[in-house]
Amino acid sequence: MTDLNTLQLTATTALGGTLPQEARHGALRMAENSGLALASLTLRRGTTQPAPFGLALPGPGAWGQAGRHAALWMGPEQWLIEGEGLAETDFATALQGQCPGCSVTEQTDGFVAFEITSEAGEAPILALLARLVNIAPDRLRPGMGTRTGLEHMSVLVIRRAPDRLALLGLRSAAATLWHALTTAAARLG
């Protein structure tokens, strides 16, 4: 029988591998980000807006970062909080400690995150965005993000920097989303 004390368990990534998948098309590099911790934050009536992990919670359509933490506006008085490299920690409990009185729900294993990086400035990112989502480019400038549809799936699109884009989607549709993303990137030519 296996000795449970010496058992090493390796988490399976959203795409089913033991290591995150990567792909490269032209100047674009795409990679599954299996280390991203997520938790939703919602204000309750009468609570004041907190500043978890030193984050200034962004307004409508915006995204903001402070160190390894980031926040995306999801709706009136609702945000999605990201923790880079914290997926294997109890992120929701840590966030709840920063936001007394607010509603916090763990989201890490509900989503898959893909990070897209361009080696040739923002032009390839803008070209890819035009193929992926029906959002005006001035609504996805660096520091902005939104929830929208991509091939009938709900996704979160975050413009982390001029040359960096993140795509968060339903974990159960991870392979479908990865296929949509890599196919669009491959066809950019």
């Binding site: 409508p60 009136p76 929208t148 549809g149």
Partner: protein, 93 residues
């Protein structure tokens, strides 16, 4: 068709689902006046022209909007958060 979301700017109508007449915001007290509740549940105006409707930003920020729309020309005349409309009506009472 583009809907001018008051918070997020112009968004594709495909991201929304339409519920119908914005008069649904004004629910009468069914115990005080059963006939008014019956009318509220079963009767709808179906105007050819300017109409106020409830739209839900399902693939977006999940907010309810009151969209003013011309049903003859499909022109969108404006949109505001249903929450603001409801709170204003509450304040006016």
């Amino acid at each position: 068709m583009l809907i001018p979301h008051p918070l997020l700017g112009l968004r594709d109508a495909q991201e929304f689902t339409c519920l119908g007449d914005a008069a649904l915001l004004n629910r009468p007290d069914g115990l005080a006046d059963p006939q008014a509740l019956t009318d509220y549940v079963y009767l709808r105006d179906n105007p050819a022209g300017v109409h106020r409707e409830l739209w839900f930003h399902e693939q977006g920020d999940r907010s309810w909007l009151v969209v003013t729309r011309n049903t003859l020309t499909h022109e969108i005349l404006g949109a505001e958060l249903a929450r603001d409309v409801a709170l204003r009506a509450k304040g006016a009472k």
